[in-house]
Every structure is written in structure tokens, then in C-alpha cells.
Subunit: 340 residues, 2 copies
Amino acid sequence: MEFTFLGTSAGTPTRARNVTALALSPSGHKSWYLVDCGEATQHQLLRVHYSVMQLRAIFITHIHGDHTFGLPGLLASASMLGRTEPLDIVAPVQTQRFITTALDNSDSSLSYPLNFIDSEAEDFVWKDKHLEVKNVALSHRVPCRAYVFTEQNLERQLLQDKLKKDGIEPGPSWGELQKGHEVTLEDGRILSSDEYTQVPRVARRLIVAGDNDDPELLANACKHSHVLVHEATYTQDVADRVGPWPQHSSAEQVARFAQQMQVPHLILTHFSSRYQLGGSGTPNISQLADEARQHYHGQLFLARDLDRYRLEKDLSLTCLNSVSNSPHKTSSVTPGGDHD
Amino acid sequence: MEFTFLGTSAGTPTRARNVTALALSPSGHKSWYLVDCGEATQHQLLRVHYSVMQLRAIFITHIHGDHTFGLPGLLASASMLGRTEPLDIVAPVQTQRFITTALDNSDSSLSYPLNFIDSEAEDFVWKDKHLEVKNVALSHRVPCRAYVFTEQNLERQLLQDKLKKDGIEPGPSWGELQKGHEVTLEDGRILSSDEYTQVPRVARRLIVAGDNDDPELLANACKHSHVLVHEATYTQDVADRVGPWPQHSSAEQVARFAQQMQVPHLILTHFSSRYQLGGSGTPNISQLADEARQHYHGQLFLARDLDRYRLEKDLSLTCLNSVSNSPHKTSSVTPGGDHD
């Protein structure tokens, strides 16, 4: 599983950070998924290897503009490129209304169908051959969701001893079982894949949360997840000064929660534009990292625009800096930091 | 009068060019005006000296997304910065509907009022102390306008000989007359400013046209204008191949028209993303310049993102490259070109 941050700033863009979006793809596949779509997400895509022609679905966490205003432009550009594949848009009903009105009032007719799916439906679940996606309700000024992405259709290993013991000779039926299919033998026996194969590893699971002032809501989801991507809009002192109204989390708050849940990998994002990236200016993004590191002892990253991550099959997480981001030499997230 | 191109690409952004927007300001004043607002216009503003706090009015040429999809984000960001000044938005009714729906469905309430003004109203005219703005209907797939900006309240020179001859002594009344005000003397005489002052130069006039396949529609407006900013989406050969449907102009078509009208300064913009900027790749932006230069013998520029222009009081036009654009060393618009 790979994912790239397309925007890591809260509310408004800065010269170094765009507003929120994240691209996710199963390793080795061209099809991909977008979580949130702040303004200029299509511009960020010009700097990475994801093409709107292969975009499979968009998942919107909540209706705020810094997570949605890039939708009309991205959809219209995909149409100008001649996309014909249907596109699923998982979003609150208001976002559907925004998209429809934007397209209707800009003389835009798309070359492909949109399938709107209500993200706030009870028992929401979305699936394709690569991923199963569920969501968790968060606490924010408007209804907001975290999306939980679980790898699907893991590679199977044949239980060869058992196959031989049951008199099932090597042949096409072995291949079918390995693909997860049921097989009917000539003698009428029906073999289930689960009985004759095993999955030798755990399915990778990633949580991408929207804006949220109560990380505890993710406790259940975190129990079997390997990466948590969560907002940390402020350091605790700024959060205290700003007060509870914006309903965002501090770095301390998320770090404490992740530590308590023993989340192996934590990536903070959605930083207030007041925090400067690099240099010695204050307030500085390094303060968020320092604060989180005091309370969380797993692998911590602070997201930067265009940074690409890979969650390996062995559940390790690495940050592979994108070419476009090459001015920053290390995969370290905090300037001068030692997060990993 | 100064203006900066914030986007010069047609339809979709490229890595070097954003979609359409242009910032215009009276020299020496902080207040400014925006013509069109493609997606990521607020991002481009982070690279220039125009602040949304001083934005006086937005003029939208037509409803297409590459000219309008930046509006919700720009308006919301101005609100997050705490703007309180009302903002005029001159636009087709559909664009007003788009903005309202975008704000309503993203939980955005602005900290300042919007005044919507219908750009397609008959006898449209907009004025403030710096500028008078009229518009001209163009020919495109949807109703589209060119905006004609005429400098207002030019500095006046006192006709001192005439004042003295009429027995009007130097004093506060001279100052009032020079400001363009009417003055009532103690002896009851009423003096009009026009009678005792003169404006020693012509008002600068700039046309910023939207998408258009019939430059002739601007013939009247061009008679007393000093700069024409017009789209040239294609070279003529590409326009012939594409056919008339998109209703855009070729470089040849606009150049021939500008030559015929003896427009002193012509700036082409809104280039199809197929044209590469710089290098030797084809099709190349230099082909548009070469084609235009064959038919137009005034001062020709091809707009680049973030290039800043100044129309002087003597009606000369200069391209002052912005700092952000410094990788391009000359003010020349076409790589290696000799447009001026």
C-alpha cells in the first residue's frame, strides 16, 4: 500500500503546503483512491505519478471547503482528458449538491458517470478487489468521518500436504484454489479455497481521519490498524489559546491517544498555516513534532506535501520522498528532526 | 496601471501555467481588481503582492470552470483572514448561484458581505474612484464578456493664467479646483473645476477579454484602448484541425484584428495546454508568438504566469518580471523570442 500527501495545511494553503488531499494506491497497481480534495488537488497531481484516468473513487471526510473545493476542477479536467470510466464519490449529501451545482452552472457535462454514495449512511462499506473501506464518525463542527482502508484479496499459499493427503493432484484446480476460487472436481467433490489455502500474513490497514477533536472515537478502529493519519492542527498551548470552538486536535492529544492504543505508525497532518516549515521562525512545525514525540514512542511522521509513504507487507512504514520534493534531502519529516 | 497574470492556460492547468485570472491595480494604490478566478487563484496570490484584504471587486468573463472554480476558496480564505469590507462580484447569474451553493454546502459563512452584480445586464457599468468598467459581449459557447477598464480622476493642472485673469487669488479654492471640486467664492461666484483646470493626458484604457472566437466584436472598444489582453488558444493550423466548436481564437486571427485596429499593445494569453513553454518541444508556445508576429507589428507579448505589466502615463507598456518568476531572465515573453 502506498500513499502520498497532496496537501497538509489546515484551512488555507501556504506557499509550502496545499489544503487537504491524500492519494492512496495498492502497491504495483495503477488504480488509486483519493481522500479529500481541497482546492488545487488537480494541480498537485501534476507533480506525482497518479493520473485522474486511473482514479477509482473519492472519499470525502466532511463538507468543509479546504477538503472539497478541488472537486469540480478535478472532475472537469478528467472529462477534458476523455475519461469514460465511472467514478464513485463517497461524500456527505451537501458535497454531492455542491458538485452538481458547480458542474450545472459552469456548462460542464462530464464524459463519464459519477456514482454518488452517501458517506454518512449507516453501516457504510465500500469494496473493490483491492480494498475494503469502512468509516468511523468523528467529532467536528460538521459531521466528519475517518476512512479505514483494509487490504483485500491477499495472496494465498496452497496447503500442499493437505491437498496431497486428500488425493487432489497438482493441476488447474490448484491454481483456482490459490486464486481463492471454489473448485468442483470431476468426482463431484467441492473444494473451498479457505480449506486448502492459507493467508500467510495480516491484511494491512490504514486509517485516514478527517478533522476531529476526539481521537478516542477511533479506539476500536485502531486496535487492528497499522497506520493512523490524523490531524494535529495545533500544539497544545495554541489549542488552549484558540479554545474548543474549531474542534481540532493538538499534537499532544493525538500522540497520547496513539501511544495508549499502541498504534505502530502515526502520521500527523493538517497543520495550522501559522506553523512555519523549516528555518528557525516560530511558531514552527518542529514544535508539533517535539510535542508529539514527548507522548508517543512509536514511529512518528509529520506529513509534508508530496511525501510518499509505503506500508510494506511486513507492516513496516517508510517515507519515500518524491522527486518533486527533492529540496528536502532526508525522508525526515521535521526539519532537523529524528522522528524515526 | 499595473496588472499581473495569475493564470494563462486554457481549460486545464499545467505545471508552468495556471488557469485564467488577472490582477489589476491603479499604480501606487493597494486596492485591486480581479478578472476571472480559475482554481488555485488564491494559491497564485501567495506569490505576488496582492492581498485579498484589499481586493475591491471581481469581474468574471463567463461561467466556465477554468475561469470560476477558484472563487469559493478565495472568498472563504478572505473570510478566514478576517476581511470585513464588502466585495463586489460582477458575474453571470449562474456564477452567483455556484458561489452561493458552494458556501452554503461547505458550512462557510463569510465575515464580509458579497454584492452580486449581473455582468450581463444591459448598459452594465461599474465605477469607483480609480476606474470605470464597461463590458462588451463576445462570441463563445456561453455568454462571455470583455471588460474595458478606463482610468478615472486623472490629475488636473490649474489654468493659473485664467484664474489670475478672473481675479481668483491663490488659496484653498485653487486646491479644491485641482481636486475636481466645484468652488463657491465669497462673492457668490461658482467656479467649475473643468473651467479652471485641464487634464494634460489621455486616460489609460485596458481591455481584458474573455474567451472569444470573434475579435471583431471588440472593434469599437479598441478604438480608444491602449492594451488588448485576448485569448489565443491555438495556432491557426491547430484551430483548423480542432474545428470551430470550442469557439476560441487563433494567434493569427487576434493578431490580424489588432493590426487592423492599430492596437498599440497586444498581450496574448489562455494557451492550450498542448503548447510547451520553453525548450524545443513541440507544439511550442514560440509558435504562437511567431504566428502573431507575422500579422501584428505593434508591441506583442505572450503572457506568462506571474508576469507583471505596467501601463505608464505616457501609454508605454513594460513587462516587469515578478521576483517569483525570476528563473526567466528577460522580460521577453517567448523563450528566445524578440517580441518587443
